[in-house]
Structure formats: C-alpha cells, structure tokens
C-alpha cells in the first residue's frame, strides 16, 4: 500500500506552486515578447507607409515643378511675362477647375494673380501662399500651380482661324506641314484633334501664341478641309467655361482679339497642375495631398499630409532673393527661378495611436525651363 502510493505519487503542493510560478514567469515573458514584436512590426509598417507616401509625393512634386514652363510654352513667352487673361469687372477667371466645379480648395475658387500692371495673368508657376486649407489651429497651408506644354499632342502643326464670335476655332492641317510643327517621338503624322485619347477634350486649356489662353468647352467636331489642307476640326471655346477664362465679350486677353483672323502663330495645349491639401470626405479627418490637372477630377497623391508650405527664389534683374514665402510687391511670379518645398509634413495614421510618428520633407527644385529662359528669352521661335 505504501509502495503503491509512492509509485503513483504526484507532486507536492509546494512543487506544484513553484512549477506554476515558473510557468507563469515563462508565459509572461513570452507574452511580453509577443507584444513587443507586434508593437515593433506596427511601428515599422507605419514608418514604411509614411515613407512611401513621402516618396510618392516628393517624386511627383519634383517632376511637375521641374517641368514648369517647359515645351513650346517657354518659347512662346509664357515663362518671361505670363499671358494676360481677360480683365472683367465681375466674373474673374478662377482655378483650379475640374470638369464640374472650381470649388476644390477651401470651398472657394482662387483668382489668378495680378501682373505688376494689374492684369490677371497666367504664369508658368503660380504661387498660392496661404491659399490652402487650415489643418487644426495652424496657419493656412499653401497651394501651388505649375503650367507646362503638353508634348503628347502636336497641336502646333495646325493652323487656327477664329470665327466672328470669338468662340469657335477651326484647326486645319496644312500640307506641307509648317516649320513650327514638332511631332512627339514615334508619331509620324499629327494626331487627329478628335482622337479619343490624345485629342482635345472639354476642359483642356489651349495657349494661342503669347496672347490668349482658352478652354475647350465641348467635344471636337470634324469639318471639310479647304484648299491644300488635309484635315479640319472645329473646337468650341464658349463662354460657358466654368473657369471664366473664355470671355468673348472682352477683347484683351480673349480670343475676341483674333476674330476673323487666321493665326500664323501656333497653338499648344497646356497642362495646368495644382497641388493642395484637403480633408478626405470618406472619414472627414484624414488630410490628403491632392493634385488636380485642368479639366480632370482631383486625384489624391498621399494621405496624412498635415502641412504644405512652399518658398521661392526669385531673380529680379540680377538681384537674387531666396526663400520668399509670398512674393512682395514688384516681384512677379515670372521671376521665380527655384521652388523650395519648405515643409511637406506627413504623419502616420491617426494621432494618439501606437507607433505614431511624423516626418517633414524639405528640398528645392530648380525651375529649369524658367531660369534658362531668363537669360535667353527666345521670342517668335517655336522650339
């Protein structure tokens, strides 16, 4: 009996308690290890997501800014002086505009900056210091608009003639092609203007020489070419344009000035790109960096961007001023030689959560196409 008890004997209470205690310590250690690992992987994934956002935003911004004034645009004078827009008494030209509305930033459209002589002007770089939304109690964020020629459509191969109302332009393709015609690489004949992919669409902005900008308001229609012309398209630039750039009743700065004339200067399509911050409508909290191209819907570039500030270096007749957050009187946007991203501040996810971090990007981008223009202004030549 006593032997049997010894043979099947379990642990004593003391042994059991010690064993349980040690087991508890080991499990506790394992749990804390697991928690640490979870926290570490969360922090790391937050950080990598944040860095991806910073990288995406900075690459796109740097590419767009370095293109400011590029293409035929620079040669047509936009980089030096900008193109004067109509100067109406009431409905001023506004930006940025998508296909439906212009109220993308802070709910209120922005008017184009005035030139030193008081004319609303379309510049290659349009600074928007303090025109963006406010996030929290901070100062208003900045917006930035960059304009460059669109190299994908050979619009400069066409001749343009404007009807007597100043709203309908007939583009004809001459034969032989004019010297101003520069085709995109791998394209042998100028594309049709009603091409569904690269052709003109409602919302596209067209620059006519150095004198006028106009916005396409409806689909392109074909017409019968006259004389030796090989193709003919009719494009509407009606007063219904929501950005109020088409103002046929005003002569200066509108197509009205060309009424009935056959333009010898070529037209070019321009891309107007605006960067700004907004709050995501899906949750009403997350701030995003947005990019809108004229006539298109705005597209988010990066989320959780909480600050956007630009400064500018300007060259005023040889006098350099660096890091201007707003351009003082007498300094026009045409004098900008470099855009500095003073703050592109990003955060990871929502405040207060584990692994919460922040990052601030600061860098500079030379406005190459503008700064070279300032030394070598080329007038009257295309490319």
């Amino acid at each position: 009996m006593r032997r049997a008890h010894k043979l099947n004997g379990g642990f004593s209470l003391l042994e059991l308690m010690i064993a349980a205690f040690i087991g508890l310590i080991v499990i506790g250690g394992a749990v804390s290890l697991f928690t640490q690992a979870m926290k570490g992987s969360w922090v790391t994934s937050e950080k990598s997501e944040m860095q991806q956002d910073v990288r995406a935003a900075s690459i796109l911004l740097q590419r767009d800014i370095s293109m400011a004034g590029a293409g035929a645009l620079g040669q047509q004078g936009l980089s030096n002086n900008g193109v004067g827009l109509p100067t109406p008494t009431s409905t001023k030209s506004i930006y940025p505009c998508g296909p439906l509305t212009c109220n993308y930033i802070s709910g209120a459209p922005v008017t184009y900056p005035l030139s030193p002589s008081g004319v609303p002007t379309f510049y290659s770089i349009i600074p928007g210091g303090g025109l963006g939304i406010k996030i929290g109690t901070a100062a208003p964020t900045d917006i930035l608009t960059i304009v460059s020629a669109d190299p994908t459509l050979a619009l400069n191969c066409y001749t343009a003639s404007i009807d007597s109302t100043g709203t309908i332009v007939t583009f004809q393709l001459p034969s032989p092609l004019p010297g101003t015609c520069v085709l995109p690489s791998n394209v042998t004949v100028p594309q049709a203007l009603n091409d569904p992919i690269v052709g003109l669409q409602a919302g596209d902005m067209v620059l006519f020489g150095t004198a006028a900008v106009a916005v396409v308001t409806s689909a392109v229609t074909t017409c019968t070419p006259t004389g030796t012309n090989t193709a003919c398209y009719t494009v509407d630039f009606a007063a219904t344009d929501i950005s109020h750039i088409n103002q046929p009743s005003i002569t200066t700065g509108s197509l009205h000035q060309f009424e009935g004339a056959s333009l010898t200067i070529s037209a070019v399509r321009v891309l107007t790109i605006t960067y700004y911050l907004d709050i995501s409508p899906s949750d009403g909290v997350t701030p995003r960096l947005m990019r809108i191209q004229n006539g298109k819907l705005p597209a988010p570039v990066a989320e959780n961007v909480v600050n956007l500030q630009f400064t500018y270096n300007v060259n005023n007749g040889g006098t350099i001023t660096a890091n201007l957050s707003t351009l003082p009187a007498g300094i026009s946007p045409a004098m900008i030689t470099q855009v500095n991203i003073a703050h592109l501040t990003i955060r990871s996810q929502l405040p207060g959560t584990v692994g919460y971090q922040g990052f601030d990007l600061q860098t500079s981008i030379s406005a190459r196409n503008l700064s070279a223009e300032q030394e070598y202004p080329i007038s009257g030549s295309a490319y």
Partner: protein, 205 residues
C-alpha cells in the same frame, strides 16, 4: 526484492527533470528571449535609419538643384562653381546644414549662410541648423506639442573637381564634376553613414 527492482526500473523510465534542471532551462530561455527583444529594437532603429537616408537624399538633391538654378540664371559665372580653394564660392570640406544666405541664395557658399527656421517661423535650435517640424502626438502642425528635429547630426560637403582630357591631361574648361556628400550619424550605429551624389555641370545652359 523483485518488486523493488521493478519499481526502480519503472521510476527510472518515467523520470522527469529535476526542479533545478527546469529552473536552469527557464533562465536560459529568458536570456535567449532577451536577445530576441534586442533584435526587435535593432529592426526599429534600422527602419529609423531608412528615414535618415531619405533625408540625406533630399539634402543632396537640394544642394544640387540650387547649383543648377544659379548656373541657369547666370547668377554665377562658371568659374565661381568651384570650391573656395580653387577660386570659387563653395566652402571647402564638411559644413553644418545652415540655410542659404542672402547674397547667393545657394546652400554651402562660404560666408553666405543664414539661420533656418521652423514651420512656426522661429530660429531652429543648435545655432539655426536646418530642422524639421514634425506634427507631434496630436498630428497637427502649429500646436505646442510639435517636435522640432534638428539635423545637427548631418554635414554636407560640396566638392568640385576639374575634369581633364587627353595626355598630358588638359582641363576641360566647360565641365566640372560636382560631388555632394552627406555624412550623418544614426542611433545604434557607431560609424557615420554617407550619401554621395555625383553630377556633372557644364557651362552650357
């Protein structure tokens, strides 16, 4: 006797670890786990270092862009795009990250620097060395908990090299090699890291 033998054999076959053995193994396991913990720390600090790498890249391209701007606007003569030692305006050797000065508007120019400011407009710490303004725990810039991150652990060296051609080598007067080296220290890594950006700049626009 027979029974006793059987009992001894059974006991031996089913014998477990002694308490001492278990305790020793538990201690070993804990020590091993602690090492694993330090690996997590290393993983986090490595991802922190990748952020520093991103900053270094931007700092290098920042300097290069401003040199190109100055060249394009003819604000500098081509001979000025050299180190001070070679008759140019760029400081020799590693420099702390002070902001561009009022005369040239370019970083790294000897004797032409200014203090950097935070997003709120105050002078950055460590004598105005470039600093980042992070939003802090509340996720909003412009509040009291903003984190100012001084880039005092970075230096920037802008070195120009005159390129030569032929034998005997004759200098190419229209081409200069620009090497921008960003040197920075990261936590948990004793040796400083370098990011090197090498570009060529010609006198033609």
């Amino acid at each position: 006797m027979k029974t006793k033998l059987t009992s001894h054999l059974v006991h031996s076959a089913e014998s477990g670890f002694s308490l001492l053995e278990v305790m020793i193994s538990a201690v070993l396991l804990t020590v091993g786990s602690l090492f694993l913990l330090s690996v997590f720390g290393l993983a986090i600090s490595t991802s922190q270092a990748s952020q520093q790498d991103l900053i270094a890249r931007q700092l290098a391209s920042d300097a290069m862009e401003s040199i190109f701007t100055a060249r394009n606007t003819s604000q500098l003569s081509f001979a000025q795009i050299q180190n001070v030692a070679s008759g140019g305006i760029f400081a020799n050797g590693a420099q702390t990250l002070l902001c561009a000065g009022p005369t040239y508007g370019i970083v790294g120019v000897a004797g032409d620097t200014s203090s950097c400011t935070t997003a709120a407009g105050t002078v950055c710490p460590n004598g105005g060395v470039q600093c980042l303004t992070e939003p802090g725990p509340d996720g909003v810039v412009g509040t009291a908990d903003d984190v100012t991150l001084s880039l005092s652990n970075y230096t920037r060296t802008i070195a120009m090299t005159q390129l030569t051609t032929g034998t005997p080598p004759t200098p190419i007067p229209t081409l200069v090699q620009v090497t921008i080296t960003i040197t920075y220290t990261v936590p948990n890594l004793s040796a400083p890291k370098n990011y090197v950006l090498e570009e060529y700049i010609s006198s033609y626009h």
